[in-house]
Symmetry: C2
Subunit: 256 residues, 2 copies
């Protein structure tokens, strides 16, 4: 992941961009040692357990999931390659939510004590960790707005745009790509966007029939980016609107 890009993208305070990028490199080196391969569906962190590790996702998709006693589930956050997760292990012993692999994945693992030590010693590493939390909070803010005030169509459109933008940023997807893999079932998508499986399916059909975007198998294809952006537009934060990754405005000239 090119942290310089990411930082510019995020309107970072001056000088922090380089530090962030440096922190990312150092962290990668620090964590490269203990690689772990997990298969789709496996549990990386059990809910409500004491957990001592912080992770960096190298390949694949992983999600933070809350399951209620009556069976309802919410996929709170989806992590994509390059993301750190369970950074909170450095500060808190217990994790209230489970972390599941959505696909086969490769993660790097580090004991929180080792990371904390590096965090205390090297401000670049500290910044990289803090940055993860800050970015995550931004995404959570957006998601709260989407869940609280967005329609089903708005949420799903936003989701597709968000996935693509993040995959591009992580270097997993070439810039401008219109098609990518989402290793989630419609049920899992439903549990992320806070809708029923059936309704997700209907909205997807709608998007397909409108020629906006399709989900076939696990492949999302954006057919009309401008239209997709227009659908999700109300939910985009100012930041995403300005970003070239998303285009300037719903009536922006580019994109087909």
């Amino acid at each position: 992941m090119d942290m310089t890009d990411s930082a510019a993208f995020a309107l970072h305070r001056p000088n922090l961009a380089q530090n962030l990028s440096a922190g990312d490199d150092k962290l990668r080196k620090l964590m490269a040692a203990s690689v772990r391969v997990v298969s789709s569906g496996s549990t990386l962190i059990e809910s409500d357990s004491i957990h001592d590790y912080v992770y960096r996702l190298r390949t694949g998709w992983v999600a933070r999931v809350r399951t209620l006693e009556d069976g309802r589930a919410q996929f709170i956050l989806i992590f994509l390659p390059g993301d750190l997760f369970a950074v909170k292990s450095m500060f808190v012993t217990h994790h209230p939510d489970a972390v599941h692999a959505l696909s086969d994945a490769v993660v790097e693992q580090i004991d929180y004590r080792r990371l904390k030590e590096a965090y205390d010693r090297d401000p670049d590493i500290a910044l990289r960790c803090t940055w993860q939390i800050v970015e995550e909070e931004r995404r959570l803010h957006n998601w709260v707005v989407g869940l609280g005030r967005g329609s089903a169509e708005e949420r799903l459109s936003l989701l597709f745009l968000d996935f693509r933008a993040r995959l591009v940023l992580s270097g997993t997807l070439p810039d401008g790509a219109l098609s990518f893999e989402v290793p989630m079932t419609q049920e899992q998508i439903a549990d992320h966007v806070g809708l029923s499986t059936v309704h997700v399916n209907r909205v997807l059909r709608n998007l397909r029939e409108l020629g906006v975007a399709t989900l076939r198998g696990k492949t999302v294809t954006i057919q009309n980016e401008k239209a997709l952006r227009r659908l999700s537009y109300p939910l985009l934060d100012s930041f995403e609107r300005c970003s070239s990754k998303f285009g300037r405005s719903p009536e922006g000239a580019e994109g087909s």
Copy 2:
């Protein structure tokens, strides 16, 4: 605010509790200088503006609000006395959301450069700032679950319990208090829980008629704590369930 309590409450990593408490004291001293009094309804941070300050809320209520172009609004987070807000100013120039005072409030203000300098110099202060972000993320996770999967009743019950627990923690409210002020209109509550004003009103009537809790004027009174906890129970994270502040379980013996 007694950070030691808060830390114990939050199952903190060993030794960090004292550091956190120390950080809170130091930060209070650092920020005590520039106090600002704001009146209800005023805007502390405008959405999408460049902003150079970090705040500590001493008295009153303040909220992070996102307003969509078509008028929909979402109160993303509510800050209560003792909370820091806009901590992100240290890392990011722009704030996509506005921050509004829900009541007359007293805030302490500090230029992000000064705070960043203290943050870099003193690990206790750094910890206190990071802690704010970590706690905030926990609340956001819970809120995402509530908005995504909770019913109207569950969301409102949870909200009341959450407000009370936090007011107690901040020292604004004596432990065990059953009545407290919520300086929000029903419309603002609706914009926080992601419902319409009318529906919030109906659910409140329902809670009142069930003898569970009332909102009269701006005063919330918990009449049957056990029942209220039972209503919100599915949405409580493991952490809130174990905490004595919330009681052990929905069929726990205490409470009336």
